[in-house]
C-alpha cells in the first residue's frame, strides 16, 4: 500500500508507540500459551475466547479477498512476456482508423486495468458475469497458496525464506534502476519534504497507525499462531525489536524506490504534457520546429497571445497548464492505482519486459507471503482443536479452507467485483483490528495482570521487561487506539452516507456514487461479524458458567 510524503514522522512515532510493544506482546502470548489465538486467549481468561474467534474471523475475511491481488499480479506477470507491453499502447478501434474511444479519453495503462483486466461495470448494482481469465488466475493463486501450506506450518517456514528474501533482491535492482532514472530526484525531494499541514491532519496519523498494524500483522492471530511453534525459551523480546526495525527499514527502503519511480513517472508525464502544448502551438501557428521549447514556452505563449489574439483565444481551451507538482500530487492509494502507476512507469523504461516481470514477481512473493500468514492464522486453531484434527488429516483441512475461499473469491472476479473488493479492503479489517488489539492489550495488562505477565516473561527468557515496555502496554498504546477509534467513528458520523468510486467508461474517469442499501448491509455485517464475537464470547462463557454453577448447586 502506498503512502504520501512527509509520512516518515508519524510512521516512526507510531512504530515506537504501538508497533514494537504490541508485537512483543503478541509474540510473548503465543510463545507462553503455546496455542493459536483462540486457545491462547481462553487461557488468559475464559471470558476472552471471543477475541481469538474475532481474530480468526478477520483473518478469514482477509484471506477471502486478499488473494485476488495475487490473481491480478499473476495476470500482469503473464502479460509481461510480450513486446510491446499490452498496456503501452491503446488497441485499435473496429475500422482501424484510430484508437478505441475509451482508451483515447483515458490513458492506455488505465484502460488496460479497468477494461482488459477487470472489465469493470459502471456501478455496483450491475454485477455482470464472472470473468473467466480472472477466475483462472484466482484458481492458480489459491493452488500456489495450497502448495505452500499443504504440509503445515513447518513447511511454510521454508517457503517464507524464499518469499521474504526475493523481494529484497528485486528492491535493490529497482533501487539502482530507479535512482538512475530521469526525474527520480523530483520524487525523492517530494518524499522527504515534510508537509506541516499534513502533520496536523489526524488522518495522516491514522493511516500511519493502520499501516503499522497491517505491515506487522498485529491482531490477525497469525503472530500468536507462529509464536506458538517457537521454543519456550526463545528470546521474543529481541525478536520483536529486530522484526519491527527490519520491517520499518524495509518500508522506508521500499518508499525510496517507490518515490524515485513515481518521480520518473511524474516528470515523464509533465514533459509529455509540455510537448503536447508545444506541438499544438507549432501546428496552429505554423511556426518552425524547434522555435518553441520548454524553456521559452511561456514567452512564446505571451507573444502569440499578443500577435494573434483571435486564433489564440480559439485555441486557449485546449492549452493545458502543465505542472510537476500536480503530477506528483495525484493521490496514490488503493491497490488498483498501485498497478496503474507502476505499469505506467515501467512501460517508459528501456527493456520494459524485464522490469515488469521483476516487479510483478516481487509483488507476487509479497502477496503470497501475506496469504501464508493469513491462512496460518485460520488453520492453527482448526488443527489445534481435537474434534477436527483427529478426524481429518491436515492436507484435507487446508484443501477445504483453500477451496471454500476460492469459491467465495469468485465474487471478486465478476464485473462489479472490484467494488466489492474495495468494500472488503476498507471495512473488513480496519475497525475490527483496532478493537481486537485494544482488547488484547487491556486483557494482558489488566485482566491477566501485568505483574503475572512480567513473571512469565522472566521465566521464559530470563529478563524482566523494562519501564518502556510496561508504560507502552499499560497506558500509551490503549490510549492511542481509543483515540483512533473515536476519530474513525466521528468521521463516519460526520460524513454521513458512505460513497465509492465507480469507473465511468464514457468519460474515462472515476465518479463518486453512493452505496446501495444491500452494500451498506454487507459493510455492517463485516464489521459486526468480527467485533460482536468478543462480547458474544464473554456472554456465552458467562451463561455456561452460570449453568454449571446451578447444576452443581442443585446436585449438592
Amino acid at each position: 500500500m502506498e503512502r504520501k510524503c512527509g509520512f516518515l514522522i508519524p510512521y516512526l512515532i507510531m512504530l515506537i508507540a504501538e508497533g514494537m510493544p504490541l508485537l512483543y506482546l503478541e509474540l510473548a502470548v503465543g510463545q507462553r500459551m503455546r496455542q493459536g489465538s483462540i486457545g491462547a486467549w481462553k487461557i488468559i481468561s475464559p471470558y476472552l475466547c471471543g477475541v481469538g474467534v474475532a481474530s480468526v474471523v478477520v483473518s478469514f475475511f482477509l484471506s477471502m479477498y486478499y488473494n485476488v491481488i495475487n490473481a491480478w499480479a499473476f495476470w500482469y506477470l503473464f502479460h509481461s512476456f510480450q513486446d510491446p507491453l499490452p498496456w503501452a499502447t491503446c488497441p485499435l478501434n473496429s475500422n482501424r482508423t484510430g484508437y478505441e474511444e475509451e482508451c483515447e479519453k483515458t490513458s492506455s495503462t488505465q484502460y488496460f486495468w479497468y477494461r482488459q483486466t477487470l472489465n469493470i461495470s459502471p456501478s455496483l448494482e450491475a454485477s455482470g458475469s464472472v470473468q473467466w481469465e480472472q477466475a483462472l488466475c484466482l484458481t492458480l493463486a489459491w493452488l500456489v497458496v495450497y502448495l505452500c501450506i499443504l504440509r503445515g506450518t513447518a513447511s511454510t517456514g521454508k517457503v517464507v525464506y524464499v518469499t521474504a528474501s526475493l523481494p529484497y533482491c528485486v528492491l535493490i535492482i529497482y533501487l539502482i534502476r530507479g535512482l538512475t532514472l530521469h526525474g527520480a530526484v523530483n520524487g525523492l525531494i517530494y518524499m522527504f519534504t515534510p508537509k506541516l499541514e499534513q502533520l496536523s491532519n489526524p488522518k495522516t496519523w491514522i493511516s500511519a497507525a493502520t499501516q503499522i498494524f497491517f505491515s506487522l500483522g498485529l491482531g490477525f492471530g497469525s503472530l500468536i499462531a507462529f509464536a506458538s511453534y517457537n521454543e519456550p525459551t526463545n528470546n521474543c523480546q529481541r525478536h520483536a525489536i529486530i522484526v519491527s526495525l527490519i520491517n520499518s527499514t524495509t518500508s522506508i527502503f521500499a518508499s525510496i524506490v517507490t518515490f524515485s519511480i513515481y518521480g520518473f513517472k511524474a516528470t515523464f508525464n509533465y514533459e509529455s504534457c509540455i510537448n503536447k502544448v508545444i506541438l499544438l502551438l507549432l501546428n496552429a501557428f505554423d511556426l518552425e520546429e524547434g522555435s518553441v521549447t520548454a524553456d521559452n514556452l511561456n514567452e512564446m505563449k505571451d507573444y502569440l497571445m499578443a500577435t494573434y489574439p483571435q486564433e489564440y483565444a480559439q485555441l486557449a481551451p485546449q492549452i493545458k497548464n502543465c505542472s510537476l507538482e500536480a503530477e506528483l500530487d495525484t493521490a496514490v492509494q488503493g491497490t488498483g492505482l498501485a498497478f496503474i502507476v507502476y505499469s505506467e512507469a515501467i512501460k517508459n523504461m528501456e527493456v520494459p519486459q524485464l522490469y515488469s516481470v521483476l516487479y510483478f514477481f516481487m509483488l507476487l512473493m509479497l502477496g503470497i507471503g501475506s496469504m501464508l500468514g493469513n491462512t496460518a492464522a485460520i488453520l492453527t486453531p482448526l488443527t489445534d482443536s481435537r474434534a477436527i484434527a483427529s478426524r481429518f488429516p491436515k492436507e484435507v483441512i487446508s484443501g477445504v479452507v483453500c477451496f471454500v475461499n476460492c469459491i467465495i473469491g469468485l465474487i471478486f472476479t465478476m464485473e462489479a467485483g472490484n467494488y466489492w473488493f474495495d468494500i472488503f479492503n476498507d471495512y473488513a479489517a480496519t475497525l475490527s483490528l483496532l478493537l481486537i488489539v485494544l482488547v488484547e492489550t487491556i486483557a494482558v495488562c489488566y485482566i491477566y495482570g501485568i505483574r503475572r505477565f512480567e513473571k512469565d516473561l522472566y521465566t521464559m527468557i530470563g529478563c524482566k521487561p523494562n519501564w518502556y515496555w510496561k508504560t507502552m502496554w499499560a497506558f500509551v498504546s490503549p490510549l492511542l487506539i481509543i483515540s483512533l477509534f473515536i476519530f474513525y467513528l466521528t468521521d463516519y458520523i460526520l460524513t454521513g452516507t458512505l460513497q465509492y468510486q465507480a469507473w465511468d467508461a464514457t468519460q474515462g474517469q472515476l465518479v463518486t456514487k453512493d452505496y446501495p442499501g444491500y452494500a451498506l448491509a454487507v459493510i455492517g455485517l463485516l464489521v459486526a461479524a468480527s467485533t460482536m464475537c468478543i462480547p458474544l464470547g464473554a456472554l456465552v462463557t458467562f451463561i455456561r458458567k452460570r449453568l454449571k454453577r446451578e447444576r452443581i448447586s442443585t446436585v449438592a
Binding site: F74, T97, L150
Partner: protein, 224 residues
C-alpha cells in the same frame, strides 16, 4: 509574340494561384516534422525536396489510375511555411484548369502511403496529410495468447508439486500406520495424557515435550 507568351504565363500563374490556395476545393494540407523524426540527421526542406514531393504524388496518381498522364507539373504546391506545412493540389491536364477530385487523390495517396513515407525517411505521424486518415496496422497477434501459454506452464508445475506432496504424505502416513500397528501389537495401549486440556501429541508437534512455564530448565533448580 513576347506579349502573348507573357499573357499566357500570367494566365497560367493566376489559374494556378486560383487552384492551389488554402481550403481550396480538392486541396490537401501537408505537415512535415523533419526534426522530430530525424533529430540531428534532419535535412533542410528546400526546392529539391518539393520537387521530390511533387514526383511522389505524381507517381502515386499514376500507380492508382494506371494511366500515365499525370506529370510532375500537374502537382501544385503553395503556402509553404516554416513549420514545414503546405497545400497541394493535382490538376488534370486533359481538362483545362480543373483539379482531380479529392477522393481520387486521397485513394491514391492511401495506396502508396508507405512508399511516400519512405522516400522522405518519415512516418505516418511525421508526414501528415491532414484530411487523409491513415489505416493503423494492428499489432501481430499469435494464435494462442502468450499469457495463456505462460499460465499453462506455471499451472502444470504447481499441480505437479501438489500431487507430489500429497502422494508422499499419503505414503508416509501409511508407513507410520504400519509401524504403529506393529508397535501396538507388542505393547499395551497407553492412554492419552492431557496437559492443560491439550493432548501431549499436539504439544509434541510444537517442539515442546515439557511445558516450559511450569517446569523451567532443570539447571535453575538445585539437583537432588
Amino acid at each position: 509574340m513576347l506579349r502573348a507568351l507573357l499573357l499566357t504565363l500570367s494566365v497560367v500563374a493566376i489559374a494556378h494561384a486560383e487552384l492551389c490556395k488554402p481550403d481550396a476545393q480538392n486541396a490537401f494540407k501537408v505537415r512535415i516534422s523533419i526534426k522530430t523524426a530525424l533529430g540531428d540527421n534532419a535535412y533542410a526542406w528546400d526546392a529539391n525536396e518539393e520537387y521530390l514531393f511533387k514526383a511522389m504524388v505524381a507517381f502515386a496518381m499514376r500507380r492508382y489510375s494506371s494511366k500515365s498522364t499525370t506529370q510532375i507539373s500537374n502537382v501544385l504546391l503553395c503556402n509553404v511555411t516554416d513549420r514545414v506545412s503546405f497545400w497541394f493540389v493535382v490538376t488534370d491536364s486533359s481538362k483545362n484548369v480543373t483539379t482531380v477530385p479529392g477522393s481520387e487523390v486521397e485513394a491514391a495517396i492511401r495506396m502508396n502511403r508507405n512508399r511516400i513515407n519512405n522516400a522522405f525517411l518519415l512516418s505516418d505521424k511525421t508526414l501528415q496529410f491532414l484530411k487523409i486518415t491513415s489505416t493503423l496496422s494492428p499489432p501481430v497477434e499469435p494464435s494462442t495468447p502468450v499469457w495463456l501459454i505462460v499460465f499453462g506452464v506455471v499451472l502444470c508445475l504447481i499441480v505437479a508439486g501438489i500431487v507430489f506432496l500429497i502422494i508422499s504424505g499419503i505414503r508416509k502416513h501409511k508407513k507410520k500406520n504400519k509401524e504403529s500397528t506393529e508397535r501396538e501389537n507388542l505393547e499395551e495401549k497407553v492412554e492419552v495424557t492431557l496437559e492443560n486440556g491439550i493432548p501431549c501429541e499436539a504439544l509434541d508437534i510444537k517442539a515442546g515435550h515439557v511445558n516450559g512455564v511450569f517446569a523451567a530448565d532443570d539447571e535453575r533448580f538445585t539437583s537432588l
